[in-house]
């Protein structure tokens, strides 16, 4: 079954949706969209690092994404970060990554595979990495769910009831870095943040509790992955952008019917 490249692509897409959707809910709730942008754009720098040092690409991306996420996390905590600073970091990381990749000596690197993903080239070993990463992120989310939600509401409220909001922030930072590392092969550095934010935002009108929103986001993410894959076969379009296009269509639909849902 795993010999079929289409099946591997489908499973890879589902794996990424499983990790990205619940994490994406926190990105939306905590208004961390730019945080996701900056971290995923930094992935390209990780690719350059991996190519230059013969490290596996996943390893390089994980390392750089983690560093970027920790830097932003620290800056945000000290309140020096503004919207503008996060924007600067997000785009600088992308530009720096593109420059760094072009400086790698030897064969020309196929940049578009890293920018937009190359889901049809997912090998069995990639699939294993994606699902291990997804299980790790999903497990972290389930394990820390209550504490993460409390810290998201209000850090002082969390401390007063014995929580550690800084530790939960670190959990999210780690989960984000892992998600970026496993998603780069599937949707590419440019569109990872889209897989975080769009399914979560599309799920909002259907939910009255955080749990329902996270489950809806997983379903929408999974549907987008499979739909985008099918669309890209049918219309011969690039797969990563096709997946995000389907997610965007679901969001548009959900936004259109949300006034009807609110009237209940």
């Amino acid at each position: 079954m795993l010999d079929d490249f289409a099946m591997r692509a489908a499973l890879a897409g589902l794996g990424v949706a499983l990790a990205a959707a619940p994490l994406g809910c926190f990105v939306v709730w905590r208004r961390m969209a730019y945080f996701g942008d900056a971290t995923s754009h930094a992935a390209l720098l990780g690719v350059a690092l991996a190519l230059a040092t013969d490290l596996p690409v996943v390893g390089g991306v994980l390392l750089v994404a983690l560093m970027m996420a920790l830097i932003i996390s620290t800056l945000t905590e000290r309140n020096v970060s503004t919207d503008a600073l996060l924007g600067v970091l997000a785009h600088s990381a992308l530009a720096l990554g593109l420059v760094a990749v072009s400086l790698i000596p030897g064969q020309r690197v196929d940049l578009s595979a890293y920018l937009f993903g190359d889901i049809l080239a997912v090998r069995q070993v990639d699939l294993a990495i994606i699902w291990i990463g997804a299980a790790l992120v999903g497990g972290l989310m389930v394990w820390r769910w209550q504490a993460l939600l409390t810290a998201t509401l209000n850090p002082d409220l969390a401390v007063a009831s014995g929580g550690h909001p800084k530790r939960e922030q670190l959990v999210l930072t780690l989960a984000l870095a892992v998600t970026v590392a496993v998603a780069i092969k599937v949707v590419g550095a440019l569109l990872i943040a889209a897989m975080l934010v769009i399914p979560a935002a599309a799920a909002r009108p259907f939910a009255r509790t955080p749990e329902v929103m996270a489950i809806c986001a997983v379903l929408i993410g999974g549907f987008s992955a499979l739909g985008g894959l099918a669309g890209s076969f049918t219309f011969d379009t690039p797969t990563g952008p096709s997946i995000v296009t389907v997610a965007a269509a679901v969001f548009a639909l959900s936004a259109a019917i949300s006034p009807l849902l609110r009237r209940r």
Binding site: V28, W29, R30, R31, N79, Q146, A147, L149, T150, T152, L153, N154, P155, D156, L157, A158, V159, A160, S161, G162, G163, A200, A201, R204, A207, R208, T209, P210, V212, M213
Partner: protein, 250 residues
């Protein structure tokens, strides 16, 4: 029995010392109110007491196993976060329906369980926060301007609710408030802050203290100090400190 105690506590926030040399203690069943102008360190003191702000110097001692019910000054829930009142009460510890219903009833709003937090009015929201703070039978309730945004009848009703909760459960209450009339009527002890402890004692003592008058009396042409018309000159339970940092008066 002492629940929380500070010794020589100083706090820094954003690079500046906001509060220095605070010796304070809260005993079982007491209602203590903190008053003071904006920026006088009231919220910082509460945050230090719950453990959210580390002392720059001095210590905060909490009774081992102390359970705190905290109502923050501001709780903005992002519109993207779907959250019913019942679900909110189950954070971070999951609660049974019986328990959440009991807490909402205690706070006077049993009918709100299924509502979305973002749909509540200001008064309803504060009462839900109170209900959450009451979960798990806390030893002390810490309220940071809990009546902010409520109109006068709403604030008065809220304080009546708190008083009722104390009578029923014997919980100690520490609150920051600007509603001076109510504060003076309902508190056992008042702590007046202005970067340090200006004065403290029973409401009558504090109302009479020149430091307090300087902050609230003359600065507002006496409007906020009207309640003390029938004060007694009983200074036995109070301590006066020199109020050197009187920058907000006038």
């Amino acid at each position: 029995m002492t629940l929380i105690e500070t010794k020589g506590l100083s706090l820094r926030y954003g690079g500046a010392t906001v509060l220095r040399d605070v010796n304070f203690s809260l005993s079982q069943g007491e209602i203590v109110t903190i008053v003071g102008p904006n920026g006088s360190g009231k919220s910082s003191l509460l945050r230090a007491l719950i453990g959210a702000l580390k002392p720059a110097s001095g210590t905060v001692i909490r009774k081992p196993g102390l359970k705190i019910g905290y109502v923050p000054q501001k709780l903005q829930i992002d519109g993207t976060l779907p959250l019913t009142v019942r679900r909110f009460l189950s954070l971070p510890v999951r609660q049974t329906q019986t328990v959440t219903t009991a807490a909402l009833t205690q706070a006077g709003v049993p009918e709100l369980a299924q509502r979305q937090m973002t749909d509540l009015s200001g008064g309803q929201f504060q009462r839900v926060l109170l209900a959450r703070a009451l979960l798990g039978s806390p030893d002390v309730l810490i309220l940071d301007e809990a009546t902010q945004g409520l109109d006068q009848p709403g604030a008065a009703a809220f304080y009546r609710q708190i008083e009722e909760v104390r009578q029923r459960t014997g919980v100690a209450i520490l609150m920051v408030s600007h509603d001076l009339h109510v504060v003076m009527a309902a508190s056992d002890r008042v702590l007046c802050l202005n970067g340090h402890v200006c004065c403290e004692g029973t409401p009558e003592v504090v109302a009479d203290a020149p430091e307090y008058r300087a902050l609230f009396g003359s600065g507002t042409q006496g409007a906020l100090a009207l309640y003390r018309h029938h004060h007694t000159h009983d200074h036995d339970h109070g301590h006066h400190h020199e109020c050197g940092e009187d920058h907000n008066a006038g």
